[in-house]
Point group: C2
Chain length 212, copies 2
Amino acid sequence: MKTLKIPEATIIRLSVYSRYLTQLDKKGVSSISSGEIAEGVGGSPAQVRKDLAYFGEFGTRGVGYNVKDLNQHIVRILGLNRNWKVIIVGAGNLGSALTQYKGFKERGFEITGIFDNDLNKVGLAVNGIPISPINKLKEIVQDNKVDIGIIAVPAPYAQDVADAMAESGIKAILNFAPVVISVPPDLELRNVDLAVNLEILTFNLELHKDKN
Amino acid sequence: MKTLKIPEATIIRLSVYSRYLTQLDKKGVSSISSGEIAEGVGGSPAQVRKDLAYFGEFGTRGVGYNVKDLNQHIVRILGLNRNWKVIIVGAGNLGSALTQYKGFKERGFEITGIFDNDLNKVGLAVNGIPISPINKLKEIVQDNKVDIGIIAVPAPYAQDVADAMAESGIKAILNFAPVVISVPPDLELRNVDLAVNLEILTFNLELHKDKN
DNA sequence: TAGATTGTTAATCGATTAACAATC
DNA sequence: TAGATTGTTAATCGATTAACAATC
């Protein structure tokens, strides 16, 4: 086995490097050093080089990296050199916002379905995509070869939605419901808890309160 | 100095424990062991105890923890034993969704203002909160003693918004714009990048693709 | 060649896990 | 007292940083 264990922190940073390189490329910057990348994203040069070294040699000693070239490598590493089909369950405020979120399309994620069990919503459309009832989920996932499901329903419904997704053959889930859900081991699961992020801020505010 | 360095991972987990304990408390569960907490949130008993040990002794040997009591301790550790005032800049889909997000209010976060520079939006209201122009930000922050600002504008505007927030005296920023922003060192900053979360999933999908 | 910057190894630092004495 | 479970220390594991040889 040639792939050693890659820290998740490395993947997060690669994603950020890629976004930054895309930005630079658009501006017409063609070459960059690890130090400049580090400065741009708030890291250290050694860390940038270490992160890249897990995957290969993408630079030229004494020179640096070609922006476009390095970005293409990272995009490929992250698996973004193809389209990914995504469905969103929950057509409330958050689900609707995610459906229309520009940042997804830019990175190759295509929203191919929205689901909700509220009969007042079924049949309506968000961003041109019709809202379907959840009992159509499996059919739509399989017909469209959907890869990823996003859970944007209230916490009490999240596990049921996860079960339906697992049953449909979806391969990965991004869960926005603030609750721990369990899925089969072969299904990738990631949680984004919006309140937790605010709570980390309040913890730090309390911690540094005296340090004036 | 008595507070040693607390891992951020510990704070994230404490936040999750607290949410889980709140749930159990509502169900009427009064006592719990570190093993049961671990099972409930997907961790290990040793880790639960270690996380808590940074802050004190909250359990009883041979018995476990009182659910309500432990939760109150964690809530206090996270700084949630008071109300936090929050503003959101960007009244687009994401900003509107965050304004109405139930999970914030449940944890003591109060949205006290929404801002946008789109004149078609200024004067309208989201969830009963009027949308104000960004040049009113400082005034409203100071009049209402706002603690935290959420950035929900497109990437190109994020730094300007961060500057306005810094200038207003806000103490912490949660940034949803997919761009690196810089703020004065005394300002707490946290980034939530929605696309990055999907990219971690696609990386893992690619990594395990062969392992059928 | 001299200067610059990579790729990589070794040293350090930090977080997690295991083990167990304390104690209810 | 016997069984259970905490709090805490020591051992392990993993990630970051520093240093430098390789090389453009």
